[in-house]
């Protein structure tokens, strides 16, 4: 069984190469069906492997099994979290492919296969990243998914914003990747190994952590946190996610960003968790601090957007902050909570993007103010959008709800307030949009604000504006929301997730995860708060308009690539400073 693990990356790649080879002569339908088939087959493979993943699978690619505990090959890991991420990646890619089925704008002449081929390569990159057990291999697949993501983000070359967002995305993420490679170089110098578990053992054998371990930790985490869009590495994300084609947004926000958080968990757990790595207290301080900051900044920025895709992108930032905080407390419950939250969030966020895409294709506009009341005739979309908004707040029994409840229990204390508030604010912003656009509530807002990105005058992604919404475009968000619901209601599913996470960790005993009354109450509280916020925003917009203190925060989001690079360096410094005490204190 374990021999099949590398096929999770190789399978989609094979499909992509075949599509490009035959793409010149292939009719569009055939190319897209083929891509869906390959994607689904990979998903089934990942699922089958996942069901067989206890005890965790390990595969040495090329058959270089360790001799006397030493190998020259690359190890690939198939445990619960890695295969779970691979399944999630495959499902979302399939959803994105079905969503863009036949609707996506005319492919370049003679290249009918190129868009589905890029999607398959994206899937391959993300799956390869998820199952990597070798640090350099992780870097390679990190780069693969990044490169494909840049190309897909800039896919609509006649959109000025799209190409600009894609370039910022490309520069910042590449810089992060090179930082990671520098970190790999440092770790290789110290331990002479590349497999993550062996690097960890090498560090432990060396003894106390020193500046080298700290620097390697900072550099590797910089790359992963750039991917995960933690403040202050996050600035590229709204620019890229707001301009990418909708199906790509579903993947970027739904799973690629979360892969960054997953990477942090994986790298810390296998490399830096031992006595030679970074002490747990320091990681906790660093991750929780960055997570809180990210959640706050994301929520504030989310509230102040009028460009709907940008609003959703900022809500992704806020939620990543919550994931990082949940992972950061380093308890089994925190890991379980984050895993469930990521699963639920993926479905909800992808569904919200899918609904926004329908608005874009129908009205050529994703501006909350310009669309005021125009979505009245799109009842189904409006209902889906509102449900998505509520689910974002963690309304029971959605998957986001149980994920949030478990995480809240794990973090405890004042952080619970943060979870409630951040999810309520992002959800409130989405509900505000729903009320204004689909119900036409409230007065049409006045024009003109200085420092913001409007969503007016966007080109639809279809070959023309849609008069009728194709069934697939409604079907996909509905299924995605149903999936998010299933994460919360399927009996025993949370416990299964908990078991899978436990089996991959340090052999801790799995805990029973289920809805608690506190969790349900807090979920309902967030949802109520969100509805309240949205209501106030619609009825009395004056009460909640941009207070002046938020303006400096918004000025940071300048779209200038130089600024983003400068903040990346600051982020690395801050990360180093947060983790420093444990290294100094011997």
């Amino acid at each position: 069984m374990h021999h099949l693990l590398p096929l999770l990356a190789a399978g989609p790649l094979l499909g992509a190469t075949l599509l490009v080879a035959a793409g010149r002569r292939l009719p569009r339908v055939v190319a897209e069906s083929f891509a869906c088939a390959v994607c689904a087959a990979t998903g089934v493979l990942a699922l089958v492997l996942l069901l067989n993943s206890s005890p965790p699978l390990t595969e040495w690619v090329g058959g270089w099994r360790p001799v006397h505990g030493e190998s020259v090959g690359i190890v690939v890991i198939g445990d619960g979290p890695s295969l779970g991420m691979a399944v999630l990646v495959s499902l979302l890619t399939l959803a994105a492919l079905v969503y863009s089925w036949h609707y996506f704008e005319e492919p370049p002449r003679g290249h009918a296969g190129s868009y589905p081929a890029l999607m398959l390569a994206f899937q391959a990159g993300m799956c390869g990243f998820a199952i990597a057990g070798d640090l350099f291999n992780m870097f390679v697949f990190f780069e693969l998914m990044s490169v494909v993501a840049y190309a897909l983000t800039g896919f609509r070359i006649d959109e000025a914003k799209a190409v600009q967002g894609a370039l910022t995305f490309g520069v910042v993420n590449s810089l992060g990747a090179y930082a990671m490679l520098t970190g790999i170089g440092l770790l290789y110098a110290r331990t002479g190994e590349l497999a993550m578990s062996r690097i960890g053992r090498g560090l432990d054998a060396y003894g106390r952590p020193d500046a080298l371990v700290l620097a390697a930790f900072v550099l590797v985490l910089t790359a992963l946190l750039v991917k995960a869009a933690a403040v202050p590495f996050h600035l590229w994300l709204p620019d890229a996610h707001a301009v990418a084609p909708t199906p790509v947004c579903m993947l970027l926000s739904g799973v690629m960003v979360e892969l960054g958080a997953y990477g942090v968990w994986r790298v810390y757990g296998t490399i830096f968790a031992g006595p030679g790595g970074i002490p747990a207290a320091d990681l906790e301080r660093a991750l929780v601090a960055l997570g809180v900051l990210t959640a706050v900044v994301g929520a504030v920025m989310c509230w102040h957007q009028r460009h709907i895709k940008r609003l959703l992108a900022n809500s992704t930032i806020a939620h990543t902050g919550l994931f990082l905080a949940a992972l950061g407390v380093l308890t089994p419950e925190g890991d379980d909570g984050a895993a469930l939250y990521i699963l639920g969030h993926a479905g909800v966020k992808a569904a919200l993007f899918a609904c926004t895409g329908i608005l874009l294709d129908r009205y050529g506009n994703v501006d909350e103010r310009a669309l005021h009341g125009r979505g009245r005739d799109l009842r189904t979309v409006g209902v889906l959008f509102a449900i998505g908004g509520l689910a974002l707040a963690g309304l029971p029994p959605f998957g986001t709800g149980i994920g949030k409840a478990v995480s809240e229990e794990a973090v405890g204390g004042p952080l619970t307030v943060l979870f409630v508030l951040a999810s309520a604010v992002t959800s409130g912003a989405v509900l505000r949009v729903a009320a204004r656009v689909f119900l036409g509530l409230g007065a049409p807002p006045p024009k003109g604000a200085a420092y913001e990105t409007t969503g007016a005058d966007e080109e639809p992604e279809t070959s023309g504006r849609l008069d009728r919404i194709p069934g697939t475009m409604i079907f996909v968000p509905a299924v995605l929301l149903a999936g998010a619901l299933a994460v919360g209601v399927a009996p025993g599913f949370p416990t299964v997730v908990s078991r899978a996470v436990a089996a991959a960790g340090t052999g801790r005993t799995p805990v029973d995860v289920h809805w608690t009354s506190t969790g349900v109450l807090l979920g309902c509280l967030s949802s109520l708060l969100a509805v309240g916020l949205a209501a106030v925003a619609v009825v009395r917009p004056g009460l909640l308009t941009a207070p002046s203190w938020a303006l400096p925060l918004r000025r940071l989001q300048s779209g200038h690539v130089g600024d983003y690079v400068a903040w990346l360096l600051v982020g690395a410094t801050v990360l180093g400073a947060l983790a420093l005490p444990g290294v100094l204190g011997g």
Partner: protein, 246 residues
């Protein structure tokens, strides 16, 4: 952000990172140190499989999965460039005027073109023996073709370079690398396992099992990918014009 503020932020971040990295440098094992456990194992493994160039053995045998990723990055980036540099709706093509090239330059280009192609092929073919391999040779061969543009003119290059063929070669070469890897799974060993072919005699062209085959696949892939890539850039720089007034 103003320029001044950006510089301040940059100075803060840069200083912090610089301090961290310099401190890390002093904790690194001294330059030229002797402890390379993985490297020593790789040399032994390479000799056991009779591959004379250990780097090729690492690339195409021991860590062939990394090379798969690397090849996919190249493949995806070229595909991305093809998509990003496509001719847009508001653009049209202009035939470029032919260029006058000084005679010695033209002669040199036509003379060196075959030499460079042969050099490229030589570098690919000896990849598992002496320094070189599919990537290096592929780039040389692809660059050589563009001597036609540099030394003659763009039309001459276009005549010998059917882009469609190169695109298909690019993807089929990538495909064959994957198929060679899958053969290992089908044979019941492992993905990209180099156990199907005899390892041959040390230091000959056919030594190393599947290493020469994978090397050749990469060479083809890189050469055609670079040709396609440059074709897109040349297209933009030379042929594609925007509609006036748009």
């Amino acid at each position: 952000m103003s320029r001044f503020f950006r510089l301040r932020v940059l100075a803060f971040g840069g200083a912090g990172l610089a301090a961290l990295l310099v401190a890390a440098c002093f904790d690194l094992p001294g330059f030229g140190g002797g402890s390379h456990p993985y490297g020593d194992r790789a040399v032994r493994a390479s000799l056991a499989r009779r591959t004379a160039n250990v780097i090729s053995s690492v690339n195409f045998d021991q860590r062939a999965y990394d090379t798969l990723g690397e090849m996919s990055i190249l493949f995806a980036a070229v595909l991305g460039c093809v998509v990003l540099l496509r001719q847009n709706r508001d653009e049209h093509r202009d035939r470029p005027e032919p260029t006058e090239v000084a005679l010695p330059v033209r002669r040199y280009a036509l003379l060196v073109l075959p030499v460079a192609l042969v050099t490229g092929l030589y570098v690919i073919a000896h990849g598992q023996l002496s320094p070189g391999g599919g990537f290096q040779g592929g780039v040389v061969a692809a660059t050589a073709l563009h001597l036609l543009y540099l030394g003659a003119d763009y039309g001459a290059l276009e005549r010998v370079r059917p882009i469609g063929v190169f695109e298909v070669t690019d993807s089929l070469a990538a495909c064959s690398y994957l198929v060679l890897g899958l053969a290992g799974v089908l044979a019941g060993t492992a993905f990209l396992a180099n156990t199907l072919l005899p390892y041959g005699t040390f230091n000959t062209l056919s030594s190393g099992g599947t290493v020469p085959l994978l090397n050749a696949a990469i060479g083809m892939e890189v050469a055609s990918a670079v040709v396609v890539l440059l074709a897109r850039f040349l297209d933009q720089a030379v042929e594609i014009e925007e509609e006036k007034g748009s």
